[in-house]
Symmetry: C2
């Protein structure tokens, strides 16, 4: 278990990649491992779009707010909830699919995300570095256009993939008992919150982050700058419209 322990415990997100390409056979091998992840009823209601072409990456870049990894990484992988293939199979087999609803979207999203994360572990085990782009759900409508995703298909996660050209510090995490509950959910008092966030708030990088953003507390950097109510509400509308247009609402 030691090797995998090291990989999982010491992992860090990689945003800077060397020029070395990712071999096609290696990538296929990694994707095969990803597809061994659990899938609802073995329906495999997901698709993975592999982007290597530099023009295509340039088209995708604005969908990810021009984060430089999109064009600098050798490979971009877009993981999609996909009932289109399954529906087509049903229709070709005298079966009437009933997957044009929210539950089916969420089922397919779970499938896609389990594959995505398994691909990440497999990639990191091979020495590659990955970065998730949280922008996928914000601009799903534009990604659908760029990648030509038909009805029944919704992008839910994107990762950039390549050989690491950096070795960043590992970022912090809350203590395990902040996120784990025994038997029942044990809700958080203000005192408990103070204890659980103490270490995070005491970090010099947190303090720098507050100062850079001209805020008083670290939490304000999230609520006022990084993930604002206004943005969240706007992108909620966009994403719900995508679900409707793609036939899930």
């Amino acid at each position: 278990m030691d090797d995998i322990q090291n990989i999982l415990k010491n992992r860090r997100t990689i945003r800077s990649y060397s020029d070395r390409d990712v071999d096609r056979d290696l990538l296929n091998d990694i994707l095969e491992m990803g597809c061994r992840a659990s899938t609802t009823g073995n329906m495999q209601v997901y698709s993975i779009v592999v982007t290597r072409d530099s023009d295509k990456k340039k088209e995708l870049a604005p969908c990810h707010f021009n984060q430089p990894m999109v064009t600098s990484a050798p490979v971009v992988l877009t993981f999609c909830a996909d009932f289109n293939r399954f529906n087509k199979w049903c229709l070709a087999r005298e079966a009437v699919p009933g997957y044009d609803n929210f539950l089916s979207f969420f089922t397919a999203a779970i499938d896609a995300l389990l594959v995505a994360q398994t691909v990440c572990v497999a990639a990191e085990a091979a020495g590659l570095g990955i970065c998730y782009l949280g922008t996928t759900t914000y601009t799903a409508d534009k990604i659908i256009e760029v990648l030509g995703l038909p009805r029944g298909v919704v992008p839910v996660a994107t990762i950039t993939l390549g050989w690491p050209a950096e070795e960043p510090e590992q970022v912090d995490r809350l203590p395990l008992d902040a996120v784990v509950h025994e038997e029942e959910y044990s809700d958080y008092t203000n005192e408990k919150i103070d204890i659980l966030y103490r270490e995070k708030e005491a970090r010099s990088d947190s303090k720098l982050f507050i100062a850079e953003n001209n805020k008083k507390t670290l939490a304000q950097v999230f609520t006022d700058v990084r993930y604002t109510k206004k943005d969240n509400e706007h992108f909620s509308e966009v994403f719900l419209k995508v679900l409707k247009n793609q036939g899930f609402l």
Copy 2:
């Protein structure tokens, strides 16, 4: 890379567990590895509820349609999208959270699912067996009651965990090119569907499955028996109501 390759390539879902308990330190170690998974903006908007108590498992069992793994596994893990802790932190730090919307739910669900899948890989690497219960989203309202999940928290995945007492055959998967698209989504013609599903449909277990369910095609087993339109629509309503009640819609 060999060890992890073996683990990821040869994995299979385990539904039968030995009496041997899962050591608390081992479980914590696995959960720690899970929490190293990528998380949106390092917000860690998820929680994990650990169920070991047999009475609690009995309470959970009907939420999972009494699948026997719930009571027979030494450990049941419920992974939740959780903005409650983050919101409480914000409110205690003069920050006004804006996470009562669909995008925030989906962000937290992604976080929770990446942790869940990393926990599964770590568990399997330690020799444990896991099984995902697809019932979590169907009965989220009941799980919320049993586990006492407050507003801001929604269960999105459950796994049972234990030492394997079986070595089942590995189940089939579609060929890789069924789910992978190069540069753009390449939609499926009926001919392509025939090719991609040929091997699956020719399997003796598929034929048995059709016969057992008195159906004409394998697809009909899914549409008419396992994942029907009626059920999907019913559970969509339940789940959307849960999102509303928990403050995300």
